[in-house]
Symmetry: C2
Subunit: 234 residues, 2 copies
């Protein structure tokens, strides 16, 4: 497997009725990837040692939940309260989360466009995520941009298809904000796919792959030229 | 009792080990007032109807907890998740919390001065309270300034005495930001106290009370004069 392109991720799912949630069931199928550990919380009674071991095995921790009263549901908060003991988590003690990434995948019951100053919620998702950002800061983790699932139940099939890809990227792509990594991620994904499809499909995919790689080398040339021009001007 | 000065308050205490917390035990003694219902949460398993009844009886709801990973502990979040059902809470449904006040009494394990941009926590208490402010906004409640208990264990006896008074005010004083109400609150408190003390003590308190009332009427004169000057200038 492309160890250089993908990252190991623990998805901690905090939802009081995971089985009844069409959003969570969709995301579960999307997260069925070799690099991803899907970890639904079903009880308030946890084995702290087991949970800490799961954290230890991951590069990226994604806390996934529906927004309940502007924060995580109690079952997810309980996980944080019990598992992140000072000894385990504080950088001046074991510092077990230092240099890992912290992501939030939050699903909304009301439209995302309502979450902005002046709209009906009058607060942004970024503002609501500040306690998690503070947690990442304290534990010397990298805080990722929040992944928002906007009213899944109202999404079209096309929107859901896009959601699937962007969610898989959120879970497994190294350096989420880098275009190169995004291209590498898509290339690796397509290569994986080629092994599983029929011969004529494989030919189609090979052509797409060729195109993406060619685009990338064109882009690299452009970037090189831009850099030369920039350097000459200084 | 002075119905016009005091307000009926429900204090919902979310602390995993209330009995072991010297902060919570101190606040419990301070909250032992006829207008205050002290309601410690001891289980995740709640009778929603009972909890909703308690809310119905109060004018002010104070959520009280130690800051755990920059938010309320799971036991308090669980209370919000279960008790504030849409039907009960949403203004377009029963709207059971409309026009009530929402206060937060939060105790800190690290110094309050660390909670500011550029300091070690790099985030303010106000920023961390935004999810609760959003809750108050949604339910058409008045959000009160947060009451912060700054590292109780390190406080001197004098600091604790001040904490007791300001906490009692936070729980029971009408219109927290009004000077008149603060004076009325203190006057009523002293009058209460006079009934319980010895004769010579009572004389002392009567003098103090006289002084406060006289200060207040001086202040009212000053305010009237200021208003007259202001009106003439316009």
């Amino acid at each position: 497997m492309n160890g250089g392109v993908f990252i190991k991720t623990l998805v901690v799912v905090g939802h009081p009725q995971i089985e009844d949630s069409s959003t969570q069931q969709f995301l579960k199928v999307a997260a069925d990837l070799p690099q991803v550990t899907w970890h639904p919380l079903t009880t308030f009674d946890l084995s702290v040692a087991n949970e800490q071991k799961l954290i230890g095995q991951a590069d990226r921790i994604v806390l996934q939940f529906p927004l309940y009263w502007y924060s995580a549901p109690a079952i997810l908060k309980n996980w944080l309260d019990l598992v992140l003991t000072r000894h385990f988590a504080y950088p001046e003690a074991m510092g077990s989360l230092v240099d890992k990434e912290l992501g939030i995948a939050v699903s909304l019951g009301s439209p995302a466009r309502h979450f902005t100053a002046g709209a009906s919620e009058n607060v942004s998702i970024s503002q609501l995520m500040v306690p998690f950002q503070a947690l990442a800061h304290k534990l010397q983790m990298t805080f990722l941009p929040t992944f928002v699932v906007d009213q899944f139940g109202y999404q079209t099939d096309e929107q859901k298809a896009k959601l699937l890809i962007s969610y898989q990227q959120y879970l497994t792509q190294k350096r989420l904000d880098h275009f190169d990594d995004q291209t590498n991620w898509l290339t690796a994904k397509l290569t994986e796919l080629m092994a599983t499809v029929s011969d004529d499909r494989r030919e189609q995919l090979a052509l797409i792959l060729e195109q993406i790689k060619s685009n990338q080398s064109t882009l690299e040339d452009l970037q090189m030229n831009l850099k030369l021009i920039h350097d000459m001007e200084e």
